[in-house]
Amino acid sequence: MAQKTRTAPAGTPTNVTQKHTKGGIGESTLRPDGTLKVTGEFAYSSDMWHEDMLWGQTLRSTVAHAEIENIDISEAVAMPGVYAVLTYDDLPAKTKNYGLEIQDTPVLAHGRVRHHGEPVALVAADHPETARRAAAKIKIDYRELPVVTDEASALAPDAPLIHEGRDDHHAGHVPHPNIVHRQPIIRGNADEAAKRADVIVRGEYTFGMQDQAFLGPESGLAVPAEDGGVDLYVATQWLHSDLQQIAPVLGLPPEKVRMTLSGVGGAFGGREDISMQIHACLLALRTGKPVKIVYNRFESFFGHVHRHPAKLSYEHGATRDGKLTHMKCKIVLDGGAYASASPAVVGNASSLSVGPYVVDDVDIEAIALYTNNPPCGAMRGFGAVQACFAYEAQMDKVAAKLGMDPVEFRQLNAMEQGSIMPTGQVVDSPAPVAELLRRVKARPMPPEQQWLVAGEEADVRALPGGLSNTTHGEGVVRGVGYAVGIKNVGFSEGFDDYSTARVRLEVINGEPVAMVHTAMAEVGQGGVTVHAQIARTELGVTQVTIHPADTQVGSAGSTSASRQTYMTGGAVKNTCEAVRAKALEIGRRKFGSYHPAWATAELLLEGGTVVTDGGEVLADLADVLEGEEIDVELEFRHRPTQAFDLVTGQGNGHVQYTFAAHRAVVEVDTELGLVKVVELATAQDVGKALNMLSVVGQIQGGTTQGLGVAVMEEIIVDPKTAKVRNPSFTDYLIPTILDTPTMPVDVLELADPNAPYGLRGLGEAPTLSSTPAVLAAIRAATGLELNKTPVRPEHLTGT
């Protein structure tokens, strides 16, 4: 047979060398991994392969809340081709739980399951189908318990406690053990300020549970090592965070768990938490064979945390001349069965709940609940998304009540540099909120009735319902909506957020070559592209090699919170500066006696040479480095932040803010309730675009995820049983190319003086305001109130 024989493990990520790719910062350099990705050679985590490899399978709970009375694995163990079946009793170490902040998540359920799809047992077999069939033969007796599914059932006097005997650091200050974390923010006096209001507007909003729906499924390969440790090749967002959680439950010292990033097929927050990592390692260590686990799409919906669904109650007041007087809000986030990132999401939702507006008097409370719903954690926008949906709906309502234009009303209240956040933090870099709104508003409108082509039949493809041919234009009305949002960049609330970069500069074949080694997870955002751009800019070389990301270098922190270009980009920049200083030192030593400028001038590395700031070439870098190798590893930190006060919410909690505005134009078939988003325009300030091609790609991608939640995306959890009803791409809908409109992008570059190159993190901001902009446009078209995402046809037709 023609099956390829491969040595282990095929698809191990290789260095990406950028020989021919040119371009320093500010240029639209192409991806170094682009060729591999278009030819199918790029090794994603599900492509890993090892001779003699087994397949792992997880058995997951079919009920949301139950005591496990008995597990019978005998039939599964007896199946030919099955190498191991593991349950809670087989866990090797005293530590049996993991978690990002609170270690409350069992590796395998201990006696009780708390949500639908919780892992209960593991199988390793020689064929994936054998593993699936064996898992299906494991018999579990559940004694079902009442489910907690919302605020009322979680906080009822006799509510079952999701985690009894909590001893985490939030347990002491929360008013109920089923509240993971609570953050109030009190500033000024909202009740007093309300007396000055000429209009007061209240609203209740519901944000549905969104899924990251990255395309590359959770997957990876664990290979047992001779020293008793394990090598893990996996798709993740933060190798070192995984390592910290994996090693203790395996009972191994961290140096015996060696992790390498394999190709990541998207992340969007869904890979911040552990999925199959520990399970694959357990099976590999037990069987002594390499074990690959690849979730199918169904399992993927259970294998990662989702965006917190939320209920938000808001009150705003304003004077007749359009100035906001006060804001009160309560935000209830459903964190599901385990904490994941819920505490940090609470911090974001509360501190960003006012939006990019100046309101001096606020009374804010955000909480996250423990329930028996699927666990929720990080997703692009991280708590700021839900708040933006509500405050932007409120802005439209207040403007309408005052008879003002909604954009002018926003501009009148827009924050700017020097404004004060509800947390008391001063916004100390550009905050062009009014300008971003002006730009999206000033853009020419897309032509009306684009489905009409002179003298021809209507082109149904341009209509709501599209190729379904449900209308030729009758009953179709247009609406326009605006929204703007504020997002923090980086890890907040006093977290020691840092990134590490190692840079080596040497001469290879007569040419200076830089090697950049970080543990940054490239999840598609393009970090590998900009790291090489930074190295070229700082070191004046053409050739840059990006070393595979692994745990052999210090932590890069998470690829999330819009932080990687800022943080790991900053680390690469700083480390390159140190390398440059060493190169110049060597140059002075070798050639200093030949030219006085070595001692007196500011020297730069450019075009493979050492030059003075006046442009005079002093030496070839290759000659300077000949026989020498410079190798530097450094950590980079952003400026320190503070925890929010637990009573008042005051504190300089955030590193940097980032802003985006949207204008949505929609057409709605009011008879069938079908929506066509015609155009979704963005204006965003990115501080400094290191790579405009990537910047625009991120903005369009983020905008589309916001569009998705506006009109189609929602994980539906049965409120009676807490079971997930739609874990598939048939039933959980993400936008296709037919659902997605033209997305013009207008990029501002107002430098942040505190950030590397003045840049702003940018990946998340566009996800915030696109949802409320689309909702506002649908409201404008239909006159309906629409306080829930996603808007479904029945909400528009009243059926």
Binding site: V38, G40, G266, R297, V523
Partner: protein
Amino acid sequence: MRVNFTVNGRKQEADDVWEGESLLYVLRERMGLPGSKNACEQGECGSCTVRLDGVPVCSCLVAAGQVEGREVVTVEGLADYAAHRTDAHPGAGCASGACGTSLDAAKQWQALPSNSGLRPRAQGSQTGEAGGLAPIQQAFIDAGAVQCGFCTPGLLVAADELLERNPEPSDADIREALSGNLCRCTGYEKILDAVRLAAARQEEAV
């Protein structure tokens, strides 16, 4: 069972194939061709799109036994396939001249916002490896249509088939042809750019 078929122009046989195995599984796990991706394995996302006797199909929905004696082209063979097509039909295109987007219109594609100061690259690439790629592959790289890249192989196979069938597609044609391929990263704008760019370059080359 044993399955005999042709993959990217080479005869292959797979032994011990279980009746329930999909073409996708055979390609990825038996042939060592992991380019076709396993994103949903239920025909919803198009990541595993291959051509079966020329027709784009979701290989996850094709039982391995169904490909007996047939020809499969995967993303790994796309460059060769496209090169062959050019050899066989130089100048193939829209004979009537009445179909699709005009060259001028296609050239107006913009990888970047008009205020960015950057202009579309008419030809060539910074990767320097243009020789081995199909035009649609190069266009995906140049237009920034590849981010995480997991949807890319399926999109490339589908887009290449579109351009073979309709060398001058309108935007609506492109959207219709690619509506079975989900992408979660790009928002599709740059994918549209890439297909427009490939079409424009194809016409320029004629």
